[in-house]
């Protein structure tokens, strides 16, 4: 099968790896690189010949809409679009499509366990056949598929981003260090990882985009993004992928940075 994967790291890399292991032909595009017109053209060409397009871009609704419109409009008639429904529900994403019935939501958050569960959320517009194809695709990649109702951020991304938001606000209010705050949550609540380290893995921009979708949808105070989170995103401290978020990381790849 020919699969187009487009969106943010590290999700797209992991998904590309899983697809290649299943002998799918993968066209992989990282969202940042689409600013380059030539890469964008290449992505559009890849869209015209894929059978399944997998999108995961959640740093904002606007960014997601721009990408989804660009991809979906160029898909061949039989192709379907799987959208990581964090910064918008699958139903909202489908509303941007020329053929809303071929859009299906899923929910994944880094780190992705290969044998883990994937949240699966057809949009209100999704055709039955399309949903069945999507489910089969995830199962063949090795995921356990758990059907959940479609709403922004589904279940785990919503829980985890709300936890991160409260953790950031608590850290600021008590003037604690990042390490102390993370270890307090791990030792005091048995959480599997510190919420701030987890935020760095997910990408602070994605956490912010998710919280904004929740805030927009429910209007509940607890989704109001912590000011520090927003500041970090303004500063480009987006987490591990940027070499810096709440923590600082050694950059794996050599970059032109002086």
């Amino acid at each position: 099968m020919r699969v187009l994967i487009v969106g943010e790291v590290p999700i797209v890399d992991t998904l590309a790896g899983l697809c290649r292991a299943r002998n799918h032909k993968v066209d992989l595009f990282v969202a940042d690189e689409l600013a380059d017109q030539e890469t964008l053209d290449k992505m559009v060409r890849a869209a015209t010949r894929c059978q399944i397009a997998v999108e995961s871009l959640n740093e904002s609704r606007e960014g997601k809409q721009w990408l989804v419109e660009g991809v979906e409009a160029n898909l061949p008639g039989e192709a379907i679009l799987l959208t990581n429904a964090l910064a918008a529900s699958a139903t909202e994403v489908a509303s941007w499509a020329e053929h809303p019935q071929r859009v299906v939501g899923y929910g994944l958050l880094p780190p992705i366990a290969i044998t883990g569960l994937i949240e699966f959320a057809p949009a209100l517009q999704t055709e039955f056949e399309v949903a069945a194809r999507a489910r089969r695709f995830w199962e063949e990649l090795g995921f356990g598929v758990m059907r959940v109702p479609d709403s922004p951020a589904l279940v785990r991304p919503r829980m985890v981003c709300a936890l991160i938001n409260e953790t950031v606000q608590t850290m600021v209010a008590h003037n604690l260090s990042v390490e102390t705050m993370d270890s307090a949550v791990q030792l005091g609540l048995n959480h599997p990882r510190g919420p701030l380290a987890w935020a760095d893995e997910i990408g602070l921009d994605v956490v912010l985009g998710t919280l904004e979708a929740l805030w927009r949808t429910w209007g509940d105070e607890r989704y109001h993004p912590a000011p520090l989170l927003r500041q970090k995103v303004f500063a480009g401290h987006l987490g591990r992928k940027a070499g810096r978020g709440f923590y600082t990381y050694e950059k794996a790849a050599v970059t032109g940075e002086s």
Partner: protein, 290 residues
């Protein structure tokens, strides 16, 4: 604190018993005080059984278990706490009772001794201010179960003298705990984050189309040792509701901390979890249904 200076625990209910067990690892003598003699004996029995079990499971050495069991003295008289360098009270979480107890302890122990309250719902500042030596009053919040969890929140009020905090921090390290010093603010840190975990799960139920088991399964697959609903059943839904209500009151009704009516219903129904015959979010173990 000097070697040999006792620590005292006042109030040997479930929480007090767990705290006493944690403090026994310090190597200091531990005085257990409760007005009811039977409560004291029961507490000691429970601690002893849990230490044996911990040794059996290899969590502590058999020597450590034996040593820990020998540190306790029981007394129904408050003055037995007089030589203590640290007194931790864990009586019922009610302001009047706690204030009266701290005032009584204030008269009994030396002015250098630290008085700690284990309350995680009341204002520590308010409790401290009612004593004659508020500078030595701190909070020690032990997340439950206290004999298992590694974290202790050491709570500073605007009146606390730094020395009292430093000493408490050292002593908690001596008990193999990880102390974090926090300001006396609603929910401290653990309860705020716990509230987010529970609150979000409850909000998901309100959204419809999901049940407790599905949400738990998803979170446990993501590495959480207990999903939110199993965890609430384990901790006690009445306790979770108390925590939530006090957080809401203490923040002057900040909408972020609004308690969930669902919890109230379950408590009213007697479905408080924690081995309750009526169950909690889930039916009681061994079937029966709710």
């Amino acid at each position: 604190m000097l070697r040999g200076t006792p620590i005292a625990v006042v109030g040997l209910g479930e929480l007090g018993t767990e705290i006493a067990q944690a403090l026994a690892l310090s190597g200091q003598p531990v005085v257990l005080h409760d007005t009811d003699e039977r409560t004291l004996r029961l507490a000691l029995g429970r601690i002893s059984r849990r230490l044996d079990k911990a040794a059996r499971l290899g969590r502590i050495t058999p020597q450590a278990a034996r040593r820990a069991k020998r540190v306790f003295t029981l007394s129904t008289d408050l003055p037995a706490c007089a030589p203590a360098g640290l007194v931790v009270e864990a009586i019922q979480d009610r302001l009047g009772l706690k204030q009266a107890l701290l005032q009584a302890l204030d008269e009994v122990v030396s002015p250098q001794a630290i008085l700690a309250t284990s309350s995680n719902t009341l204002s520590i500042t308010r409790l401290a201010a009612a004593t004659r030596h508020p500078e030595r009053v701190i909070g020690l919040h032990f997340p439950r179960p206290a004999h298992v969890m590694r974290l202790v929140e050491v709570v500073r009020t605007p009146l606390t003298r730094p020395h009292a905090l430093e000493e408490a921090v050292l002593l908690m390290r001596q008990c193999d705990r990880t102390p974090v010093t926090v300001d006396d603010a609603p929910g401290l840190i653990v309860n705020r984050v716990a509230h987010a975990y529970f609150g979000e799960a409850l909000a998901l139920l309100d959204g419809g189309g999901l049940d407790e088991a599905t949400i738990d399964t998803l979170l446990e697959a993501a590495g959480f040792p207990m999903g939110p609903f199993r965890l609430m059943d384990f901790l006690g839904i009445d306790r979770v509701l108390d925590m939530s209500e006090s957080l809401y009151e203490a923040t002057f009704h900040h909408p972020r901390y609004r308690p969930q009516p669902r919890l109230q219903r379950l408590v009213e129904a007697g479905r408080t979890g924690r081995g309750s015959a009526r169950g909690g979010f889930f039916p009681p173990a061994g079937g029966g249904g709710a």
